[in-house]
Amino acid sequence: MEILPKMPKSWNPATKPHKFCPGCGHGLVLKALGQAIDELGVQDRLVFGCDIGCSLLAWDFFNVDTVQTHHGRTTPVMVGIKRARPELLTVAYMGDGGGYAIGSQHLVNAATRNDLITCILVNNTTYAMTGGQMAPTTVPGQKTETTPYGRDVEETGSPMLGPEMVAAISHAGAYVARGSVGRFRQLKNCLRKAIENQMAGRGFSFVEVLSTCPTNWRTDAEQTWGFLEETMPKYFPPGELKVPGGKEE
């Protein structure tokens, strides 16, 4: 008997199939997020904010109030909502460009202020929507449109370690983790804990997710999976980096 995978309840069926490229990791992150929202029963009080970048394609993804904002500015919009209405749960959803380059000051300051929001940052090692340029997370030697001979760390620096930074600068109560679309169950748990952390009012929550972009990596299925499972974890080790009052996985 064939069992079809169930769509999360919080998804908006009218906008499916979604608009991401085949093999894109965004769909899996949003599936994990949808399941986490369902399990926690928070669909009616969660506000989802998406950035510019491929994340913007999620503007009508859920049956959840959603605001699509500007490149790098999703974090302050969610902070603004949370400060005004603490009873709402706010999730800022962004790419590595949005979170680590243009919007890094917002990430740093929201973490420092211990703002009670949840940030999910999709790390696909590239600026996808603008056509595959170098991102802060592009790995050494990786070819992109603006590093056609491969990223040279002497010239452009090393890949940014976001969760490590957030773990270092955040305060008591913060939850920080790195998941991967290659480890779905673990990813869903991380996202769930990141929202639970906000619900408990403990502190800032941040999850980076290693994700795929076959379109801009110009990879087939096997190479895509290889890059995600073998290359990326060398630079970005998955796992929990900060768990308030709990054991780290």
Partner: protein, 353 residues
């Protein structure tokens, strides 16, 4: 009290609930007074990391249904144009107080009318904003109250545009509860986080400013422009004196208007054929009122502490009327009634132009 204190009291009277802000002279004391009023009146405040964040967090507050506002000036106003473009595109009723400072804005912090173009037309968009230019402390209070009402009524970003002089100087003020004057405050309401299960009890709010096809954007913009144009006659405000009689009509806004008003009244007392026209709303601009005031005038004099930012609006709105327009531009510098009177006398005597 100082103008900045007036703004804080005005926001309080208007029922503002939360301010998001980033320090910049000359608006700092708005935050200082607001944070002092905060604990007494249950008001919230967040000091953000920069003006981009101040603008975007204000948007968040408004989306959450609160009467939220921010204040800035100079380079902060430049940075804030990004969030304000979003507010304009998404019809988010943010209220912003701008205490203009001189330019380029990294150094001069005292006085200017050089943020007119930026405030009216900055950012990506067509300038679908409301801009009230104040001249007196009482107006700072009145128009701060009005700004919250207009923002929530029309759903366009709304500005109170003052300047460093108004921010820092002291003048007396009558504080009042708008209700006592019969002013009914337009209620704020949440754009996200309404009661009920989205998708079941109510449609989910799916707010965006990115569109997949050009026609979709054109349709959205077309509707906004139409609504803006339809509301404009109701929003515009202007003040005129002796306009019909005037051989010379002097046009000024904001604090410069005070010098103009003094000079014109004195000249009229001396029997000169002078009048003034003052736009109070710079966006939308009271174009019809200006044309009417300018009818029969032999010449116009535009006076401003900028290099023709008001003048651009005047010329655009006077196009085709044929009245010659003279100017007195003192960018970033105060203008005294004596200077205005001297210029007027010279023009009336046919000495200049």
């Amino acid at each position: 009290m100082t103008g900045n204190e007036v703004v804080a009291w005005g926001a309080l009277a208007a029922g503002a609930e939360i301010m998001y802000g980033y320090p910049i002279t000359p608006q700092n004391e708005i935050m200082h007074y607001w944070t002092r009023l905060g604990p007494r009146f249950g008001k919230k405040f967040l000091q953000t990391e920069d003006e981009l964040s101040a603008g975007f967090t204000t948007i968040g507050g408004v989306l959450a249904g609160k009467r939220a506002f921010t204040a800035t000036a100079g380079p902060g106003n430049v940075l804030m144009q990004e969030p304000l473009s979003m507010a304009e595109a998404m019809r988010i009723p943010v209220v912003v107080v701008v205490q203009q400072r001189g330019g380029p804005s990294t150094a001069t912090v005292i006085y200017s009318q050089q943020e007119v173009t930026l405030t009216c037309f900055g950012g990506n968009g067509e300038g679908l904003r409301l801009v009230y230019s104040t001249a007196f402390h009482q107006e700072l209070f009145d128009y701060t109250v009005k700004a919250f009402n207009a923002a929530w009524k029309y759903r366009f970003p709304t500005f109170v545009l003052a300047d460093g002089y108004q921010a820092k100087m002291r003048e007396s003020l009558v504080i009042y509860d708008p209700a006592e004057r019969g002013i009914e405050m337009v209620p704020s309401e949440p754009l996200v986080g309404k009661p009920g299960m989205p998708g079941t009890d109510r449609p989910p709010a799916h707010l965006r400013n990115a569109f997949s096809v050009e026609e979709e954007l054109l349709a959205a913009l077309g509707k906004d422009i139409e609504e803006y144009e339809a509301a404009a006659p109701e929003i515009v405000e202007a003040d005129a004196f002796n306009a019909g009689e005037a051989g010379l009509l002097v046009v000024a806004h904001g604090i410069v208007f005070r010098s103009v008003a003094m000079a014109v009244r004195e000249l009229v007392n001396q029997g000169e054929r002078v009048g003034y026209f003052r736009p109070i709303t710079l966006r939308p601009f009271p174009g019809a009122q200006l044309r009417e005031a300018a009818q029969g005038a032999e010449q116009l004099l535009v006076v401003e502490s900028a290099y023709g930012q008001l003048n651009k609006l005047v010329l655009e709105n006077l196009y085709g009327s044929g009245v010659p327009v003279r100017t007195l531009f003192r960018p970033g510098v105060g203008i005294t009634p004596e200077e205005v009177a001297e210029k007027c006398r010279a023009l009336l005597a046919g000495k200049e132009g």
